[in-house]
Each structure stands twice: as structure tokens, then as C-alpha cells.
Symmetry: C2
Subunit: 298 residues, 2 copies
Amino acid sequence: MGSVAFDTIETPFGKIDDALGGSATYFSLGASHFSKAGIVAVVGQDFTEDHRKILQDKKVDLSGLEQLPGKSFRWGGRYGFDMNTRETLFTHLNVFENFKPKLLPHHLDKEFVFLGNIHPSLQTRVLKQIKKPKLIGLDTTNMWIEQTRGQLLDVLKLVDVFIINDAESRELSGEHNLLKAAKKILEMMQKASPTLVIKQGEHGLLMFGQGQYFNLPGYPLEDVLDPTGAGDTFAGGFMGYLAKCGDLSWDNFKKAAVFGSVTASFCVEKMGTQRLQEISLDDIKKRYAEFQKLTHFE
Amino acid sequence: MGSVAFDTIETPFGKIDDALGGSATYFSLGASHFSKAGIVAVVGQDFTEDHRKILQDKKVDLSGLEQLPGKSFRWGGRYGFDMNTRETLFTHLNVFENFKPKLLPHHLDKEFVFLGNIHPSLQTRVLKQIKKPKLIGLDTTNMWIEQTRGQLLDVLKLVDVFIINDAESRELSGEHNLLKAAKKILEMMQKASPTLVIKQGEHGLLMFGQGQYFNLPGYPLEDVLDPTGAGDTFAGGFMGYLAKCGDLSWDNFKKAAVFGSVTASFCVEKMGTQRLQEISLDDIKKRYAEFQKLTHFE
């Protein structure tokens, strides 16, 4: 559950206009390599058969994609030379402004659910409809941390996995140090065995759960063309891998984090979703093995 | 070979005045946990028996520490809240200004030599006196990259291991991407099997050599009190470990990088050299095992 949008992106290496994007798009493309993914989102009349085909080619279930009169969510952004700074040029919410996720009967039986970044009270409403959740994941953003902190804390109590970036973890916890931030955030989560993933962009991630933690560097890349969607692709690969095997041991969470990172490393190699459309599970597995080789030590 | 200095350091968490520091100090304290380290440096009359004892307690050979009339190198710096930004408050070179490293006969037989950050032509002069070098390491800084590039490239051709930080690697290569930067810098090195370590501060390091590379995240710490000397301590632990076992296989280079990182992770936990004086090899080995556990995945 998240957004399907059209992105206009400028980087020092290229520009694309109105490319299919949004959190649900990147998430489902990431997850599709491991499990059958389905999305719950809203689009306008500008969402065409060509757009639909991009997702259907990866077997993404679009029955939950509502199409309304009007235009889809549109976002424009420009990246600086080092790809770490991003300037938003415009945000037109359009039909996404009044998005109320509508679950179909078959959605209610899903065991693995990811709540993309929308108002936390809408996330809670979706979550409460799931009958037998096995693993619920959550994303959010600094806007909700600042504007709807109470409602965010409410939904946080109900989820198993919380995936945010370092700046968000610092803002939510009031701690600069990420180990201290993680301790505080894990205390806010009230499920029996919560997992927290703090993404650090090109510098990898820290994951906390089951009384342990895991530190993964970023997969080193020579050519980063467009970082858009990398975080959502990570979440998709992560949840998709866990859904595929159903094994929620710590060792498997670590594998999921590596698979998520590797999938996201492909995402940034071309503009928009292009690279995610090209790759296969074999490409991901090959890079996984390479990643293991270059981080392993005796 | 490097500097012995007195540092005045302000961080958001503490302040120390005229504490023993300098690249040779931190390097030798880092190396001392693995091998017998010796330093070639210069100090003034303000270097007391108490300062000498700090190094001698770790069996550091001080026969190459020249004492001249005048004051020792003094440096003052202030760190910002996130410890990543540092403002130099003053630099008084004093006796270090005209430092000409003087090697004693027993130095000429050393197999493992580290050339700390001084003018590259002085580094070359030291290097050429070593009779049977097995592994020569080099540090430098942006000043020499900018002001004496030709002489830096000359010494770079003669060394086996080059240890710099990410900003320096970018400046030297003209490449922002660290993989591209590494390729260019390795081409500047002309020994049979050169190794390049690019330090990324709290984000760990990348190491390149023997046709392979290695990516290590930073060891996560809850309390960073003072980052001063961490890079030199890394180099000391790295070279000290390699000197101890004499095994220059890629697997052992990786272990050396982890031992260097772990030793440096202790360095930053207290002000100045305090923590490095307290710890034992057992503490380092324990944290090494912990680091392995939190980065390993199947």
C-alpha cells in the first residue's frame, strides 16, 4: 500500500519526464523478484495501459489499484552532483490527496503487508483489517514525525518491522547516535519481536531485532544515475524475500536485508524503474554472492 | 615516522589541553598491541618524562625521537555536534617545522615502515634508506595533493600500501565515485602488488588490492567522545597486525583492516590517547569477534 506517481527527475547525468514511480511501484517491482506482489494505491486517468504493463510484466497484482477521475500524483526533483542532496521542484498530489486505501476481500487474507508512507491513521486503518498478519512493515517520513507524532506512535505499536532512514530515526528519537536512536525506537514498538531497519543511503544500513543487530555497508557502485525509489525497492526486496520463505529467524532477516540492498543497488543504476524492469532473480543472486565475498572476513 | 604533538581538543562532550597526540603517537599506540613499534619524530623541551612513559608503557621504541630546543608541535581543534566537522583553532608547528627524519642504524633494517603525513620528498628520503623493505605504508593529506602533487606521485610509486580518506582520494583522482577514484590511484602506484585503503570515517572503509576489494562498515559505537587520531590508530593497528604475522595474503589484509578499525574504534571512546592506554589485545580481539558477528551473513 502506497503511492503510484509520475516522476520528473533531473540528475547531473540525465532527465526523465513523467516516468512511472511512487512508493508502491518501486516496492512491488523490488518484491516481485521474490514473491507475487500486489499493490493498493490510486491513480488518475493519465495512468495508461503502457504503465499497467510495466507492473504486470512483473506479475504485480493490480486489482487494488483504484483509478479515479483526474490526474495521478506527480513529483519533480533535482539531484545535486553527489546524489545525496535532492531538491523537490514540485509536488502535485492530485488524486492522491484524498487517498483512502480500499482493501478487497483477497487483501484481507495477506500475511505479509507493507504500509507505505501515508498518514499514520490511514496506515492503522489498513492494518486493522488484516485478518492473520504474519509480518507487517511500516514506512513513514519526517512530515508525519513532526505533524502527527501521536498517530505515528499508535501505528508503530502495531507493526513488526519499521523501515526508516537515519535522519528520520534521529528526528523520531531525539538522539543523534544511531544505536541510541534504535534503542528508543524499539521501545516505542510493542509487538513481541520488533525489527527496526535504519537505512543510511549509500552507506548501507543498521538492523536491530531479536536482541541482536546487523551492520551492512552499501553495495559499492561505479555508476549511480538516479537514487529515486531505492528505499522503496529495498523495502520491497526485504519483505518479498521474507514472504517467499516465511522463515522469520534472525539469520533470515539478515539475508532479507542483503537481498533488499542488492535489489536497490540495481534500481539506482538507470533512470526511474528501467533497471528494475530489466533484471532477473539470477542477476540479484549473482550480486548477492559478490556482496558476500567483498564483505566477508575470517 | 610522523609527528608527536600536543593537542588541545574541544568536543561537545569534553575538553583537554596539551594532551599527547600526533600521528606517530596514535600510530605507535595502535600498532603496539600487535608488534613492537618504534617512532621517528621530533619533540621540543616541553616533552616530559610523563609523556615518554605513556609510550614506553606500550613498549614503543623511542630511540628515534629527537628532542630539540624549543616547543613541540601544538594543534588545537574543535568538533561540531555530529563529530564529523572539525575546525582547526590553531597550528603551531614549532620544532616540527624543520623536521628532517633521522634514521638510526637499527631503523634501516626494518621490514615494515609507515611514512606518516609529512612533505612527500622527506617521505621518499626515508623510504630510500630502508634496506630490505617488506611493506611500506604511506599517509598524506590534501595540502600535499594540492601543493606538491609531483613529489607525492613520486613517493606513491614506491610504496606498497596507501591509506587515505575519501575526500583525499577524490581530490587526488579527480573522481567523485570511490570505485573510480580507487582505479585511478592504483594506476599511480607502481609496486608489484599495491594496496589502497580509503577510510570513510564512521562509515568504515574500502580496501583495494590483489585484483579484489573489501568493504567494511564502521564499527557502531554509542559514545564517540573524540575522533582525534582515529585514522592514525587505524593505520597503526593495520600495519602492526601485518608486521606481527608477516602474511601478506588478501585474507590477511582483510583481517588487518578489521583489526585496524577495531583498534581505532577504542581510540574515539575517550579524549586523546586515554582509551588506547587502557585497552589490551584481549579487548581488541573480543570486539573483533563481535564485529564479525554483526556483519556476517550467509
